[in-house]
Amino acid sequence: MIRLIVLSLLVVCFFGTTAWGADPCIDCHREKTPAAVRQWEVSAHVGKVDCAGCHGSDHEALLAGLVKVGAATCGRCHEKALHDHRASRHGMSLHAGWGCTRNQPDRDVSGCRFCHEEGSTLPKSKVQCARFLTQSPEMRELGCNRCHQVEDNCGSCHSNHMTDLAIVRSPQSCAPCHMGPDHAQWEMWQTSQHGGLYASMGGEYAPDCQRCHMPQGSHNVSKGLTSPPSMIPYPVEKRTQAREEMLVLCAECHAKEFARRELAQGDGIRDQSLELIHEAKEIIIDLKDRGLIDPAPEERPPHPLAGNQLVLDGQMLYEDYSHIERLFFKMKKYDLAKTVKGAYHQNPAYTHWIGNAELKMDLVDIKSEAQRLQKTQVLPVAAPDPTANLERELQTIKNRFDRGALSREEYDRQRNALLETLQP
């Protein structure tokens, strides 16, 4: 009997040690990275996934920073979550927010691994972000990567070593990235009626981020959205299907037709806001046609992707440009987002005063700046040069023709009319 008890104790000790203490990393890392070990020890991974299971066992490579615990590592077990994640905007974050730093003077080679598989020169995506490329390595890492790495880093939301779902079920987990002037979803929700009720009554009475955007634990955060970040709606078929998916969620609390009307009002505000953006953009393009942007694109440091071209799309920078472009950047990147997302998040203050009012005041500023620039075009009286005006007009109509704003026939007509004024 005593022999049996001793043998049993030995077996327990042996297997117990193999499960935990025998992990060759633990003893050292309890000192080196105590939080990581403590978190792992209380996680669902303990006893199932050891350090090498995710990090590998090549310690040299680990120390050299060459081993990446990417989404694919987690996906080996969490297959459905990875599938949903990759079908969503989160799964495209690096594609949207990165760029190759190969030709940058301050290149940081450790960043290559985010876009390249080990040993491969082929990037996962050729999409590049001009704003990323103009940053310092420190800003790229802290100001860009910390959010955009969500594409390939489950730890962005879950934390690296903990598995408690309370972490990711809290709307607070979305806040570090979904806040601020360009996409203030967290503040909008928090100060909306949904957010207020959530704060006072709890999640059973009001939705949080996850309830609407990650229903039933789905990792596809893009479900139910009818437009990309540019706010320009998806094609009818895609946006109709997305709207129906969202209405299913709304109908968990509201009458479906009520929810449909509310979201349709958001659509209306989106379309009206896009009209304002379009009007402002046309003003700036007209100034460009007339050579009145100051400093002109060819007079400032080249845009990392477009060189000396005027860029007003998603690759627009917020530095090294003219004042009128700065006004447009604020209008498009900040105030359009606040208005439209404010409407969809049922936040009247964001929709109107923080968003719409600013949008319209931006347009006033842009028109005023355009008038000021047009006044600078008047030639000095002391040295009038009629051909200089003619040349400017010819350049203006050529710019319009080149960007497709004038037909060939109309361009020929206007050009010939201008040339008629040149006295033989």
Partner: protein, 382 residues
């Protein structure tokens, strides 16, 4: 007179007759009305520059650069330098010379008395220079950097303007294969620099050396004010330099395959027109002012008629209404082409010229079409 004296005199006379006969054999048979005159001596393989009024020239001798009047006045030395390129400004008051040493060049501008007006060190090797106007010089320079895999050749346009800092703009950069570098300094002779008869545009050649294909050169036209460039036809490396036609609306070039072609610059994309298929490759190409006569491959041509040939000619220029040849240690002048010495642009008054220059700039910028230009051109000349 004694018999020995008479014998000696006869021998001398015979020698003179033989010498004359030899000269007659050496000198080519000239067309009727043409006259070839030796004007001065020079060092072989050195440049010379004819003064715009045709009364003098600058040539290189053993002890430096000399001013050589052609009207009997005494010659004198202008500079101790031995330039590799020379050019008078349009008024004939300034002479620009380039000297090369150790892969870098130096530009010097001097007066008729040899007084130095300016000296500039140029980055790279300058093979040619031209005066755009009385105050402005254009130079193409090349700088070669050698690497284990080959080299990088950077071409720059440098502009010298009196009393202003030298301006430099990089206009081409090419990676050269090792096999191309074996050509050595001959590479530097590729980019000839031609000024349009209008003075608003230059024509030069760029080297291209793609990894999997043979090296070649491509002609490029660049408008000097707008900076607009247009790449034209490709030709084999070391093809002779192309030339502007007399009206500046076309270029003449040898395609490296025995053909002499004319390429209309406007409209773009038009096929080159075959002018002439010579018996040998066109290595030399010089035209007179109205383009009616040209020196090609050791022969003077009027259209497709061969007027005269002289195989010993090493360098040819057309200036002050004459062709000028360097053959061995002498410089010769060929006179007699008096009726065709004026450029067709000489008939324009200043107002017409300025308007057409403006229209040419707009055409180069793409602000007007070639058809627009042609219509306005006719109106202005009417």
């Amino acid at each position: 007179m004694s018999i020995p004296t008479l014998f000696l005199r006869s021998l001398f006379a015979l020698g003179l007759i033989l010498l004359c006969c030899c000269s007659l054999v050496t000198l080519p048979q000239l067309p009727p009305g043409e006259m070839l005159t030796p004007v001065t001596t020079t060092l072989p393989q050195t440049p010379f520059a004819v003064h715009p009024d045709g009364t003098a020239l600058a040539s290189v001798r053993e002890d430096g650069l000399w001013w050589v009047p052609l009207d009997g006045r005494a010659a004198y030395r202008l500079s101790e330098r031995h330039p590799t390129a020379l050019s008078w400004n349009p008024s004939g008051e300034r002479l620009a010379l380039v000297t090369v040493a150790n892969n870098s060049s130096s530009l010097q501008v001097i007066t008729l008395t040899g007084e130095v007006v300016a000296t500039e060190e140029l980055s790279g090797f300058a093979s040619d220079l031209i005066w755009r106007n009385v105050h402005e010089i254009l130079l193409l320079t090349q700088k070669l950097t050698r690497y284990s895999f080959g080299g990088n050749l950077e071409m720059s346009l440098q502009v010298w303007h009196e009393n202003q800092p030298l301006q430099r703009e990089s206009i081409h950069s090419v990676t050269l294969k090792k096999s191309t570098l074996a050509l050595g300094e001959r590479l530097f002779t590729v980019p000839s620099l031609q000024l349009s008869p209008w003075g608003d545009e230059i024509l030069f050649e760029r080297i291209h050396d793609p990894p999997q294909f043979p090296v070649y050169q491509r002609m490029v036209v660049r408008h000097l004010d707008s900076g607009e460039e247009r790449a034209l036809e490709a030709t084999p490396l070391l093809s002779p330099p192309a030339r502007y036609s007399a009206d500046g609306e076309a270029i003449l070039y040898a395609d490296g395959d025995g053909k002499l072609l004319s390429l209309s610059l406007w409209p773009q994309g038009k096929m080159p027109e075959l002018l002439f298929e010579p018996e040998v490759l066109a290595r030399q190409l010089t035209l007179n002012a109205d383009g009616s006569r040209g020196w090609r491959d050791g022969a003077l041509w009027q259209g497709k008629t061969r007027l005269w040939s002289w195989s010993e000619v090493e360098a040819v220029k057309y200036a002050a209404g004459s062709f000028w040849f360097r053959a061995g240690k002498k410089i010769f002048r060929l006179e007699g082409d008096r009726e065709a010495t004026l450029s067709p642009l000489a008939a324009l008054d200043e107002g017409q010229r300025n308007k057409l220059l403006l229209l040419r700039r707009w055409r180069s910028n793409g602000l007007i079409t070639p058809a627009d230009y042609n219509i306005r051109f006719e109106e202005i000349l009417r």
